[in-house]
Amino acid sequence: MSVAVIRFGGSNCDRDAVRALEHLGIECEIVWHGDGLPADPDGIVIPGGFSYGDYLRAGAMAARTPVLDDVRAAADSGTPVLGVCNGAQIGSESGLTPGAFTTNRSARFQCEPVYLRVENADTPWTDAYDVGDVIEIPIAHGEGRFEIDDDRLATMEDDDRVIFRYCDADGEITDAANPNGSKHNVAGVLGEDDHIAVLMPHPERASLPDIGPTDGQGILRAFE
């Protein structure tokens, strides 16, 4: 079997994800959401893009398509699930992961490289890094500001469910290094289990040596 990269109408990072995974030698295939998940995928990527034109809220429509029931069932049985950008919005809208990703503090679409600090290296997604490592990965989103109530955020932090935070080049978590106003600079979080994760930055855009930094490879290696 292989990793299923789910394509919705409006997905636009599906092929990038496939290219990055294939570069790492990970077998994968694009799956049209309406066809449902293939049986027993090795992993699931919910890629970036603008599914359903971001109607209502980014990710709101895709999160309520039948394929997400398949994703939830696969996640429950231990299949690794990664949501990137619009995939992260879909992940939070569907309840796979906590919180919400909403309008950037700037109220603008932002496409730029950012630094992330690894907060928990004891997950499949961060196994390639050490806690405190600073990696450079691009963001490209208009609705990436992580929001959640303070009590739930505190619980998530106590449980080590924040895996990446926006930081400066030295790994300092500062407001200036927070591109979108996310609470506590949160850039990526785990679901109820470690094998479910979402993040706004694009690891697949930082995985091919021909086009720049490759710091995102470690995240995708969770599918090896």
Binding site: E93, P98, A100, T102, N104, S106, A107, E147, I148
Partner: protein, 83 residues
Amino acid sequence: MTAYTATVTVRLKRGVLDPEAETTQQALERLGFELEDLRSADRFEVDVDADDADDAETRAAEMAERLLANPTIHDYEVEVAEA
């Protein structure tokens, strides 16, 4: 069954930043308006045939819970009137 229109208003919870509202306020100020604050909300008008107003309200509230609002960031209210 009676025809009702349920109006669902979805707002950001108090304390949640609303950059679009801030931008809108700035644009109004650029046009010369004086204002203290501005809040935005989404309004959905849902036409339903229901047994009574309570039934219509219950159904619209469930629509808000499951799709129209995101409980992490939103509050909502439902008002029902005969169509």
